[in-house]
Symmetry: C2
Subunit: 154 residues, 2 copies
């Protein structure tokens, strides 16, 4: 039975296996931003943190780790550096003293504003030749998939 399943990926073909395709695409998206990130002295975790905070500021560190898909320990180090460079600040939560919230600073926003045009360009390159309605259908399927497998309510 396992042999039959193993044959299945071969029959399906890598090019029809969505996790493979998504992995390749995300890999190229990250590579496309690498030069700009290095130029700004940022790691992938730091870039994602700034991008997410630019949208949803003041969230808990544990939620930022989920949004950014980064381990808490890696995220902690990333935030240490961002805080040293005055790009974010951390504050204890008023309700839960063991929890910490992260806020983006003006300098953090400025750095993010320099990154976004490159993120946007990499995003546009990805969707070249994909019409607006095809893109909407695609994103709706992604949202359904994330709801299927996420462990958090966001």
């Amino acid at each position: 039975m396992t042999l039959k399943s193993a044959e299945h990926l071969k029959e399906m073909g890598l090019d029809n296996f969505a996790p493979y395709l998504m992995n390749r695409i995300i890999g190229r998206y990250n590579k496309a931003l690498q030069a700009e990130m290095l130029g700004l002295g940022l790691t992938t975790s730091q870039m994602r943190s700034l991008a997410i905070l630019s949208v949803t500021d003041g969230i808990m560190i544990r939620d930022l780790a989920v949004y950014a898909v980064v381990q808490q320990s890696t995220l902690s180090r990333a935030l240490d550096t961002l805080e040293q460079n005055d790009m974010v600040r951390r504050e204890n939560d008023l309700q839960d003293s063991r929890a910490t919230r992260v806020f983006i600073t003006e300098a953090g926003r400025e750095t993010y504003d320099r990154l976004w045009p490159h993120m946007s360009a990499a995003y546009e390159a990805m969707f070249k030749g994909v019409g607006e309605s095809e893109k909407q259908v695609f994103v709706a399927t992604l949202q359904k998939m994330l709801r299927n497998i996420r462990k958090h309510n966001f």
Copy 2:
């Protein structure tokens, strides 16, 4: 102008930004396989190598690095361990003596056969409630996106 672009991600919303959604989904897919990988003593790079070789055996190491979205140095170490455990073997290419091809062994296939049911289950979980035609449209868009941004002809 950069400020305007920065506002754009906020207006679009993270949940409509495909790179974010794909990153979250791939993160959960990898997490879902982690226990099984650890049980078999495999890293993500090793698991991907076995999966790819099960479909397209005997490819060049440099191509395997592209398929698996792993840096060549990381892949080299992954293949060292797989070779020590008799799961793959490397051979110099007949035409190009500087190039190396990788082959999966019987033991490698057996390990992969134990992994695949879990990969398959994680894949099915992802697409729960997504009909066959929606899935086909989704995969076709992914294929178009990969063709847009890939640097290789595969």
